[in-house]
């Protein structure tokens, strides 16, 4: 049974979410603050986390960064704010997804399930990006000196999906479908921020990308 961590300070929402996920067969750990959430995660090793942004004490972004530093688990940020700046900030702190309140419960559920479903693709061949060697079978990226470059699972899937397209352009829609597993909840900002994060890791100069390039108006492609 998947184990979900819910960090939310509003008692009513937290209880409702717990009931809903329990009803859907999840093991639920819930915390009313970021500090408690991080402590719970250390003990319980959750499979996925939902974190509210507006928390007393440690903010949702800080909680998210703390969990990310310990694990690759999928993290969904839940926020009352929908400004692009907030979405970007949330995703930059390491979250894989961002949902705005008031959300449709089925949508949140579908997204959490999509995150749990996805596994790194085993089919893709290994390839080289400048100094980097990407080995999808092992799920690792190595520098030429053998040291490992850490990518989150979402970043890794983004990279391997683009590589599997063989230089073809993938639209944001395509990427949402393939990487996030969403059919219709697409928010193109999810893709844009993750692309930026990935560039910071793999590009020699992230401001002038040479591998992961933007095809304006269409989408992204990987130049091997």
């Amino acid at each position: 049974m998947p184990r979900i961590l819910i960090v939310e300070d509003d008692d009513h929402i937290r209880t409702a979410l717990r009931l809903m996920f329990e009803g859907e067969g999840f093991d639920v750990d819930d915390a009313s603050s970021g500090e408690v959430g991080v402590a719970l995660f250390s003990r319980m090793a959750s499979d996925v986390a939902i974190i509210d942004v507006m928390l007393p004490g440690m903010t949702g972004f800080e909680t998210c960064a703390a969990l990310r530093s310990r694990s690759d688990l999928p993290i969904v940020i839940v926020s009352a704010r929908d400004e692009t700046a907030d979405v970007v900030l949330g995703l930059e702190s390491g979250a894989d997804d961002y949902v705005t309140k008031p959300f449709a419960p089925e949508e949140l559920l579908a997204r959490v399930r999509a995150h749990l479903r996805r596994r790194p693709e085993k089919s893709a061949n290994a390839f080289t990006l400048g100094d980097l060697r990407v080995v999808p079978d092992e799920g690792v990226v190595r520098h030429s000196d053998g040291s490992e470059l850490h990518l989150t699972s979402t970043e890794f899937r983004l990279l391997t999906n683009l590589a599997a397209a063989n230089g073809k352009v993938l639209s944001r829609e395509d990427l949402l479908e393939h990487v996030w597993g969403y059919d219709y909840f697409g928010d193109s900002r999810l893709v844009d921020v993750h692309v930026r994060r990935l560039r910071m890791k793999i590009e020699p100069d992230a401001a002038n990308p040479q591998y992961l390039v933007t095809v304006r108006g269409t989408g992204y492609k990987l130049v091997l």
Binding site: D10, H12, I13, A16, L17, L19, M20, G23, E24, A80, D82, E83, T84, K101, P102, F103, A104, P105, E106, S171, R172, E173, D183, Y184, G186, D187, S188, R189, R216, G217, T218
Partner: protein, 463 residues
């Protein structure tokens, strides 16, 4: 009422005023000076003639043979022509002196013993003729003075006065320009600022520190008015945004618990299930309403949340139509691209543009059995995106109102169609206007409604 330009009126008033005043002044001056000069000249000539006549008389008495040389010296000293008739015989020295200069009337008068003088126009020249009878020697003395030099002076005077009048006229026009600039410019600034503010540039203010007190007062009160207006707008927008924000948390709980109840619906009685369906349906509307209100508050409050990108319109429309169809689980209408479209680019916020297309396609689905087609065509330096349906259309009297907030058309009432939030089309219009475009509703070639968006095409060089 016919509109006239204040600037032009000021200019004409000043110009004409200066022209009339200076012409009047010049005319009066000319007439006065002319009279004075002519009068003086005539007095001098008269006196001179009497003196000359006395000389002629004494010479006739004492030594008549001296007469020719006397006449010579008179003519030389006064630059006139002298004619003397003595015993019916004319004496004249200068070759151009002619008796015809002296009219019969003068001669008759003088012969009758009256001294006479008259101004005559002889062959285009003005002459002053003086006739003096000298009865003691049966002689009449005539002197013809030429007023050429006087005429010349008057012509010079006329020239000077005309030039002066013209100068005054031009000065008047220049003054008019200056005054109209001074008075009309501030009005134009107010007008320009008002237009800018009406178009949404709420940071527009008039420049303070004007030299004229009245203008400064106008500037101050205008700026104060705009500041208060903006404050009020922001307060309203903030209020809507705050209210919606506060609604988010309870609404999240409500929707989540309703969905839990849905999982347990078969434990409920028939009445319980029906109530749950109503609850869930209205919660869904409630949620859309709060989302729309928040989006509206955001687009009201600041333009900074706008993330503009330059994108190729055809591909963008295709993507948006696809994702709109997916989002609402409906069949995607075909995107038809006009032959002349090429591949124009537009400057839009991707998310908001998607919202626009989604709302229009969803509306067509809701009220008109779905969109027949989304058509992209070029219209000059604009691109037109038409969402056409084959539904009942929108009546003429409703077309002006469909973009108003919370407007509900009759069609929606009559046909008991699932309710929308009433904000969808208002949001659509807000977004399109934020991209510098327009949206109108008309009749589609398929018999239903056509929502036509026009967006400015980004020129090739600034892509």
């Amino acid at each position: 009422m016919r509109q006239r330009s204040l600037r032009l009126r000021l200019l004409v008033t000043f110009g004409l005023g200066a022209l009339v005043l200076s012409s009047l002044f010049a005319t009066l001056t000319y007439v006065g000076v002319e009279r004075l000069l002519v009068h003086n000249q005539q007095q001098t000539d008269l006196r001179q003639s009497y003196v000359n006549a006395a000389l002629v008389r004494s010479t006739l008495y004492e030594s008549p043979t001296e007469i020719p040389s006397l006449l010579d010296s008179i003519e030389k000293s006064t630059s006139s022509n002298v004619l003397v008739q003595t015993h019916q015989q004319w004496l004249s020295r200068s070759p151009d002196a002619s008796t015809s200069d002296v009219t019969a009337l003068i001669v008759a008068n003088v012969v009758a013993g009256h001294a006479t003088h008259q101004t005559l126009n002889v062959d285009g020249r003005v002459v002053f003729v003086v006739g003096v009878p000298i009865p003691s020697v049966e002689t009449q003395f005539y002197e013809v003075f030429h007023l050429d030099s006087l005429e010349h002076s008057l012509r010079v005077l006329l020239l000077v006065l005309t030039f002066g009048a013209l100068m005054t006229f031009f000065l008047g026009v220049a003054g008019g320009l200056w005054v109209s600039q001074r008075t009309v410019r501030p009005l134009e600034e107010v007008s320009e600022a008002s237009v800018a503010i009406a178009d949404g540039a709420l940071t527009t203010r008039l420049v303070v520190g004007h030299a004229d007190r009245e203008v400064q007062q106008l500037t101050d009160s205008f700026n104060r008015m705009v500041t208060q207006l903006v404050d009020r707008l922001e307060r309203d927008a903030r209020f809507a945004s705050d209210v919606s924000h506060e609604l988010r948390s309870p609404l999240t709980t409500l929707t989540t618990t309703a969905s839990i109840l849905q999982q347990h619906r078969y434990e409920l009685s028939a009445a319980g299930q029906e109530s749950l369906d109503l609850l869930i349906a209205d919660l869904s509307i409630f949620r859309s309403l709060v989302e729309d209100l928040l989006e509206m508050a955001r687009s009201d409050a600041n333009a900074t949340s706008l993330v503009l990108e330059t994108l190729p319109v055809v591909e963008l429309v295709r993507q948006c139509v696809r994702s709109a169809a997916r989002r609402h689980s409906i069949e995607a209408p075909p995107v038809e691209v006009g032959a002349d479209v090429a591949d124009p680019w537009v400057r839009v916020d991707r998310r908001r543009f998607e919202r626009v297309i989604t709302n229009l396609v969803d509306n067509a689905h809701r009220y008109a059995h779905g969109a027949v087609a989304v058509r992209v065509a070029r219209a000059g330096d604009q691109v037109a995106i038409d969402v056409d349906d084959a539904g009942p259309g929108i009546s003429l009297d409703e077309r002006d109102h469909v973009f108003e907030r919370f407007f509900r058309g009759r069609a929606a009432h009559d046909r008991g169609i699932a309710r929308g939030t009433g904000l969808g089309l208002a949001l659509v219009r807000d977004h399109v206007q934020a991209f510098g475009g327009t949206i109108t509703v008309a009749e589609s070639p398929d018999g239903g409604a056509r929502f036509e968006i026009t967006l400015p095409i980004v020129p090739e060089e600034s892509k």
